[in-house]
């Protein structure tokens, strides 16, 4: 231990992250104290780390955080995350941000601040690469003198910002690659029904718990698009065909338009969604490079619609990972399994049921036949707490059936996940 240079001790202490752990460990010896004062690069005040944080008043917390931060010298990564009960004064937050402004690269700040305090103004903008805010207000953005030249990742959770300021903020971040919004509060004088944002550098966009009539995103370099727990009438992506990953989870959208952006899609993950199959299929049909397709807990708008394997195998020849879980009806088996073409590249198959019936076993068998190079099959099942006799019988029959299948397809590893 004596041989370790003090910077390395600083690195080790930085991996502790939690301020309390770091301060305690640093008092071990003189060298460690020097490491904590001069070479600590990461520090975190997170209410999850120490129960006492809940019991302290906001004022006491501010003093504690100030005293701790002011003993360090070269902080690169600062996390302050408290629960909803606390609110920090502008003066304290400004003091912390000014003190760390020259070295800070990553700031995670999830604490309520006063409504009139515009946190963006006080952030050290020159070096910041990651900015994550929660429960704050962005009241005004002046792109002419508030630029974030190094910012790569921006995350806003429960942050209040107007559409105009959001657009201005994006234009002030010329290198932004990741934008994530959770429950944004769009401040506006009138009832906001639509929004349009654009970024020429954005590669990943995710939005969660949001609702609007119309949302338009213009991003020529976008590769990842995630929508979760949202309600839109129209969601439109305007881009240049770079989209690789599309994830839609628990979303209600009448018109989802990704334009002519399907050509490079590699992963499509749709869950808890009502699909109009022809329209959806048309949207992704050009994705000949698709490697992973997941349709989980989806409901088809039209009772007669099914996902037919013939279409999937023809349109997505490079598919290596297929995950399907939806209500099976007779039509699904007859129409969905017809055809002869094989899914030659599928190596992993995930199949799930929400309420088990005899059709499921037949479906599994049918799919196994179509995947000659399968190496792994994972069955996801939902077992209800109260099992009636009939359900138990079906489950038993299914188990026997799978054992038989296992014998027939010896090269396939079969796993189960029940919840």
């Amino acid at each position: 231990m004596e041989n370790l240079p003090v910077e390395v001790i600083g690195n080790i202490l930085s991996h502790l992250e939690s301020a309390r752990d770091v301060v305690i460990a640093s008092s071990t010896c003189k060298k460690w104290r020097e490491a904590w004062r001069c070479h600590l690069h990461t520090l975190s005040f997170n209410s999850c780390d120490w129960p006492i944080y809940h019991e302290l008043s906001s004022n006491s917390l501010e003093i504690l955080i100030t005293q701790t931060i002011f003993q360090t010298k070269a902080l690169r990564c600062l996390t302050i995350s408290m629960d909803d009960v606390h609110e920090f004064s502008a003066a304290s937050v400004i003091a912390w941000l000014m003190y760390t402004r020259d070295t800070l690269r990553r700031l995670h700040f999830y604490v309520r601040t006063p409504p009139m305090f515009n946190i963006i103004e006080k952030c050290g903008r020159q070096k910041l690469e990651v900015l994550a805010l929660g429960r704050n207000f962005i009241t005004r953005v002046e792109p002419s003198y508030q630029k974030f030249p190094c910012l790569k990742s921006l995350s806003l959770s429960f942050v209040s910002i107007s559409e105009l300021d959001l657009c201005l903020l994006l234009s002030a971040c010329p290198r932004l690659e990741t934008l994530s919004m959770v429950s944004p509060v769009i401040a506006s004088s009138d009832l906001q029904t639509s929004m349009e944002i654009s970024s020429s550098s954005l590669k990943e966009f995710s939005v969660e718990s949001f609702g609007l009539d119309k949302f338009v995103l213009e991003a020529d370099l976008l590769e990842h698009l995630h929508l979760k727990d949202c309600t839109f009438e129209v969601f439109e992506l305007i881009g240049k065909g770079t989209l690789k990953v599309l994830k839609v989870d628990d979303v209600s959208v009448i018109h989802l338009d990704i334009g002519e952006n399907a050509d490079n899609l590699e992963f499509v993950d749709i869950s808890n969604f009502t699909i109009m199959w022809p329209k959806f299929y048309h949207m992704i049909s050009k994705a000949s490079k698709l490697r992973r397709l997941r349709l989980w807990g989806v409901v088809f708008e039209d009772d007669d619609e099914v996902v037919d394997l013939e279409t999937i195998s023809v349109c997505f020849p490079q598919l290596s990972h297929l995950s399907l879980s939806y209500d099976l009806r007779d039509g699904v088996l007859n129409y969905g399994l017809q055809g002869l073409s094989l899914l030659v590249n599928v190596a992993v198959l995930e199949l799930g049921w929400t309420s088990i019936n005899d059709l499921f076993a037949t479906w599994v068998a049918g799919l196994l036949e179509r995947c000659p190079n399968l190496t792994k099959l994972i069955i996801y099942g939902f077992v209800s707490e109260v099992k009636i006799h009939e359900e138990c019988q079906i489950l038993a029959k299914f188990t026997e059936f799978i054992i038989e299948l296992g014998r027939k397809y010896m090269h396939v590893k079969i796993e189960f996940e029940y919840e």
């Binding site: 231990m1 080790i12 460990a25 071990t28």
Partner: protein, 116 residues
């Protein structure tokens, strides 16, 4: 993977390279470092499997960990440095200063008042 080695290769003219001096690294430790670099460069394992492998790799006596930290620092291999520093940090977490000093056999334990 090692910035030190990369820099050495880039600065020394190619026809003069016979060996790159890594005088501070013991051979047993260098073997482990090479094992790590090979595993991480091979791209044969999935991310999850690689993480499990890393956990096993770092599951060694603390003196070996310190040697690995020194080597990774000297050879400038950031991912290995992060892995080993993280492992040492896990060992420190939740312990009192006295317990830490005992665990790592730290002799130079001075009190707070002595420095201030």
């Amino acid at each position: 993977m090692s910035k030190t080695v990369k820099d050495a290769i880039e600065t020394i003219p190619t026809d003069e390279i016979n060996s790159i001096s890594l005088s501070l690294v013991r051979s047993e430790i260098l073997t482990k470092v090479i094992e790590y670099c090979k595993k991480h460069n091979s791209a044969q394992m999935s991310d999850v499997d690689l993480m499990d492998w890393d956990v096993e790799f770092a599951n060694v006596h603390y003196t070996t960990l310190f040697d690995l930290v020194l080597s990774a620092n000297y050879m400038n291999i950031n991912c290995l440095l992060d892995l080993v520093c993280g492992k040492i940090a896990d060992m420190i977490k939740g312990k009192t200063p006295g317990e830490i000093a005992k665990l790592f056999d730290i002799k130079d334990v001075s009190t707070y008042e002595e420095d201030n």
